[in-house]
């Protein structure tokens, strides 16, 4: 019998099961896009029938990091930019757990940029949601890696001299196998995309446009949005790397010209996840590693029997 009986329980789950019984008053500002992420995540988890006990939500620091307080599941609210390495190790240790990591654009594309690149490259089987509001919110309105060029803030009083980072293109180049962009103003698409991302076997990156009504008043509030899959103006094969790349460039160019494009940009269902690759080369057990620590009948190897001969 599994020590983790919540995993794969498959019972009827209601979206309200993800609402903490003692819900702390959400400290997000009125109109904040983060509410949209919370709503989409609850809807997706319910649709997939994941129970709160089999989910691990790992967050970074900032407004986005507070998602953990308002979403009922196992949670790990970590340190600035470091949600991904913690999340991917948890997944390797116990692959049955549904692992979702979340953070903001400063957290994920700035301080945690290195981890983002490498988690995507390794194609860990997990979902990564980046709350992209093009601003630092909780530290009160500084320029972020996705802020547009010329953006003025307290720390860039003359306007930013830097090009904004292109998260979709970076993700593709790094090696993510599912890449989508959605927006808090587009709740149905957001939920569907998170369902797909969680179902996908590999690193799923969702760039989630979240408006910041308090600090980014200049930012277009991501409306009107266009769903590239629904629009007749955009025709590309999102399983083709080159076509996906071109579409991403167009999307990223368009954003600061007032055109908000969302949708599924890249889906590679054939590539094995990192975990599968690691098992294939014999560097990861077939059974969940964590399970073994609860198995009283497991016979633990020790150095005396295994390795001492070569030192004699």
């Amino acid at each position: 019998m599994s020590a983790f009986s919540a995993i794969g329980e498959g019972k009827e789950i209601d979206r309200n099961d993800y609402t903490p019984g003692l819900e702390p008053q959400a400290t997000w500002c009125p109109g904040c896009g983060d509410f949209g992420v919370l709503k989409a995540l609850k809807g997706a988890a319910a649709e997939l029938g994941k129970s709160p006990d089999e989910m691990l939500l790992v967050t970074g620091i900032g407004c986005s990091g507070k998602l953990n307080s308002y979403f009922e599941s196992y949670g790990f609210h970590t340190i600035h930019g470091r949600s991904l390495p913690i999340a991917r190790a948890a997944k390797l240790a116990n692959p049955g757990v549904e692992v979702v990591a979340a953070g903001g654009d400063g957290d994920g594309y700035g301080i945690g940029g290195n981890h983002f690149m490498h988690s995507a490259r390794e194609n860990h089987d997990m979902t990564y949601i980046v709350f992209n509001n093009e601003i630092f919110g909780l530290t009160k309105g500084q320029t972020s890696p996705t802020s547009p060029m010329g953006h003025k803030s307290k720390t860039q009083p003359h306007g930013s001299a830097k090009q904004p980072l292109r998260p979709l293109s970076l993700s593709l180049t790094s090696g993510a196998s599912y890449i989508a962009r959605t927006a808090a103003v587009n709740p149905n698409q957001a939920k569907d995309i998170i369902v797909e991302a969680m179902e996908h076997d590999g690193f799923s990156h969702v760039d989630f446009l979240t408006q910041c009504p308090t600090w980014n008043k200049d930012a277009r509030q991501y409306v009107p949005y266009i769903d590239v899959q629904d629009s007749e103006d955009y025709d590309f094969d999102n399983t083709d790397r080159r076509e996906a790349a071109e579409m991403m460039h167009e999307t990223e160019d368009a954003l600061h010209e007032g055109k908000v494009l969302t949708g599924r940009y890249y889906v590679d269902s054939d590539r094995p996840s990192y975990q599968e690759e690691k098992q294939r080369i014999g560097e990861m057990p077939e059974e969940p590693l964590a399970e073994r620590y609860f198995d009283d009948s497991y016979e633990w190897e020790r150095s005396y029997d295994q390795f001492l001969d070569k030192h004699k």
Binding site: A3, F4, S5, A6, I7, E9, P20, G21, L22, P52, D53, E54, L56, I61, K66, S69, E72, S73, Y74, G75, F76, H77, T78, I79, R82, L84, P85, I86, A87, R88, A89, A90, L92, A93, N94, G96, V97, N114, H115, H118, K278, E283, M284, P285, L289, A290, R292, Y293, F294, Y298, W300, E301, R302, S303, Y304, Q306, F307, L308, H311, K312
Partner: protein, 633 residues
């Protein structure tokens, strides 16, 4: 002394096979019944440059590299010369033969490879040979090896020549080569071994000197083990099956040994993008219910400061190892120092705490790594194994039975689902992971693991309520802080009561004491024996528990003697500072002997340092060590 021990130095260029040859030779000497201790000296470069390994072999126990050496096999650096221009690379001179010749003892033996080295290039060589009564054998090992087809075999030829001159039975070497070498290279190696041996026997007077191999016998089976091996095996035996790291000298050794062994044990090793990620992965795996470790050396460990604090705040068990090398910054990557003590004790923000062990020997490296895991998982606190390049790389013989211990895969204070069902939950249904206990408790609240039914909670680096929600409530803050800190008292109590103390050595009622930590312990003990043999009255305490500090034991030790000399390998007397901070008195009794030139202490450094500074109360004559007098002295 020359008949009591052989201190054999093999010198050459990095990449010339010095390490593997010396390792095999040390193992052969161990198998013949001797006690061995090796000391490695290597530059931070891949090929060429000057590298040497010393093997000290004696029938008596050996605890340090000894003083100097009495047998030099100088093979030369095959990468030093640029064959096209007949020039040297960089500033390399013919160091394998010239460097540290001062440390070759009187009456010592030199074999040098005349195929690569020319003694006439060394100033005053002949005069010094005569003055010191050295016995020099110039053998063209390179040509001999070339004739057998592989130039690298001049190592084996040198070993053969050594055996002839030191009267070592070739059988031990043959047996070991047969075990260690693949068929294809075994045959030519055996041939050249014998050829060199016979050639020296026939053509030279092998009895001209009195450096001979001693005879010894072990009363139980021995294994040749380094500190890095012992740390890795300690982790494995304690049930660690997950490691994440980034390569950095000298920590890489532990990382590599674990990585090579974990897959066959069904474990996981991850080489990741940086050290922040490495420590974070270890935390993530531990959070998900696996015994996990990470580690690094100085600069890499600096990056782990934040995840370390997160482990403490979220009460996530984790073991980090820190392999010290000379600093600051990247310092001297391949040279030993004990300068990261304060870094490891105090890094990370706020009132954060970690448990720190600093093993003094290879055997302690094994037992204390196991203890580090046990404490970390029982008390849900990060624990650190702090060691240095010297301990990590030194090979010594240890009774195999030392490793014949039961495995301990227990996750410590972790609940099963049945136990979770009976444990306190708050009214929301969340598990009361960080529940309040009483001041009489030890501060430990058992944890649950993601995937367990009914165990969900929030782990966060912010201050938090019992179920994990972030809180800035003053009452809760004080409760949680006190709870975390209560663990330290409980751990101190457990360490005091576990029957394994810090290591005392010497006469109980001695007049003077040496206080030291980590890998300097063995060298200090050897100096203590010599000083007592010379009529002094000394003892030593090797402290290997750095945090929580063993205040009572150290206090008792200091009180029992007139004066204490604190021996450590750094320039700022960090261990003495820690001792004074923790004990809060007796500052006037503690003076320091420091060494930080990139080489570890030799017993003679300590003997002399004691006699000159403490007994004679004189100025310190050494350039290798530094004396810092007691406060108010």
């Amino acid at each position: 002394m020359t008949n009591d021990e052989l201190i054999w130095r093999i010198a050459g260029g990095s990449g010339d096979g010095i390490a593997s040859t010396s390792q095999n030779f040390a193992k052969a000497l161990m198998r013949s019944g001797l006690n061995v201790f090796t000391h490695r000296h290597y530059p931070s470069r891949i090929r060429g440059g000057h590298t040497y390994t010393e093997i000290r072999a004696s029938a008596d126990p050996v605890k340090s590299r000894g003083d100097g050496y009495n047998f030099l096999l100088a093979l030369g650096d095959s990468f030093a010369r640029n064959p096209q221009q007949n020039a040297y690379y960089g500033n390399e001179e013919i160091k394998p033969l010239s460097e540290n010749l001062d440390e070759l003892r009187e009456g010592g033996v030199i074999i040098y490879d005349s195929g690569l080295l020319d003694a006439s290039e060394i100033e005053d060589f002949d005069e010094r040979v005569e003055e010191n009564n050295w016995h020099v054998y110039d053998l063209d090992l390179r040509t001999m090896a070339r004739e057998h087809g592989r130039e690298v075999m001049r190592n084996t030829a040198g070993v053969g020549a050594t055996c002839a001159l030191a009267d070592i039975d070739l059988e031990w070497i043959e047996e070991l080569m047969t075990d260690a070498m693949p068929e294809k290279i075994l045959e030519p190696n055996l041939e050249i071994l014998h050829e060199a041996y016979d050639m020296v026997e026939e053509e030279y007077d092998v009895d001209a000197h009195d450096v001979k191999i001693p005879e010894g016998e072990h009363d139980e089976e021995q294994v040749l083990m380094s500190g890095s091996d012992a740390i890795a095996y300690g982790a494995i035996d304690e049930g660690c099956r997950f490691i994440a790291g980034y390569p950095m000298t000298p920590w890489t050794e532990v990382f590599t040994i674990m990585t090579q062994n974990l897959p066959e044990l069904g474990g996981i090793s991850e080489q990741v993008e940086d050290e922040i990620a490495a420590a974070a992965l270890a935390l993530g795996a531990s959070h998900a219910g696996v015994k996990a470790m990470s580690g690094s050396s100085g600069g890499g460990f600096a990056l782990m400061s934040e995840p370390l604090g997160l482990a403490e705040m979220t009460e996530t068990p984790v073991v980090l190892v820190e392999a010290m090398r000379a600093g600051p910054s990247t310092g001297m990557p391949t040279k030993p120092e004990q300068g990261d003590l304060e870094h490891v004790l105090y890094t990370s923000q706020g009132d954060s705490h970690r448990i720190v062990f600093a093993p003094g020997t290879v055997t302690e490296a094994y037992t204390q790594t196991r203890k580090a895991f046990k404490i970390a998982y029982e008390y849900q606190i990060p624990s650190i194994v702090l060691y240095d390049q010297k301990l990590g790389g030194e090979l010594v013989n240890v009774p195999a039975s030392h490793f014949d211990e039961d495995p301990n895969p227990s996750l410590g204070s972790t609940l099963t689902e049945e136990e979770i069902a009976d444990a306190p939950h708050d009214e929301s249904g969340k598990f009361s992971r960080f529940r309040y206990d009483t001041p009489e408790d030890n501060g430990v609240a058992p944890r649950s693991i993601p995937g367990q039914k009914g165990g969900r909670f929030l782990a966060t680096g912010n201050e938090h309520m019992p179920e994990g929600h972030i809180s800035e409530s003053p009452e809760n803050r004080v409760f949680q802080m006190d709870k975390r800190m209560r663990k330290l008292e409980a751990i101190r109590e457990e360490l005091d009561g576990d029957g394994v103390n810090n290591t005392l050595h010497g006469e109980e009622d001695a007049q003077y004491g040496f206080l030291t930590f980590g890998s300097s312990q063995g060298t200090v003990e050897e100096a203590v024996d010599r000083l007592n043999d010379a009529g002094h009255s000394v003892k030593s305490l090797g402290v290997s528990e750095m945090a929580p500090y063993p205040v009572e034991q150290v206090k008792e030790f200091i009180e029992s003697v007139d004066e204490v000399l604190v021996v450590e390998m750094n320039a700022s007397a960090q261990f003495r500072g820690l001792t004074q901070k923790e004990i809060g008195q007796y500052g006037e009794k503690l003076s320091s002997l420091l060494k930080y030139n990139g080489n570890p202490f030799e017993p003679e450094d300590i003997v002399e340092g004691f006699e000159v500074n403490i007994v004679e109360n004189d100025d310190h004559p050494h350039t290798r060590t530094k004396f810092v007098p007691a406060a108010g002295d």
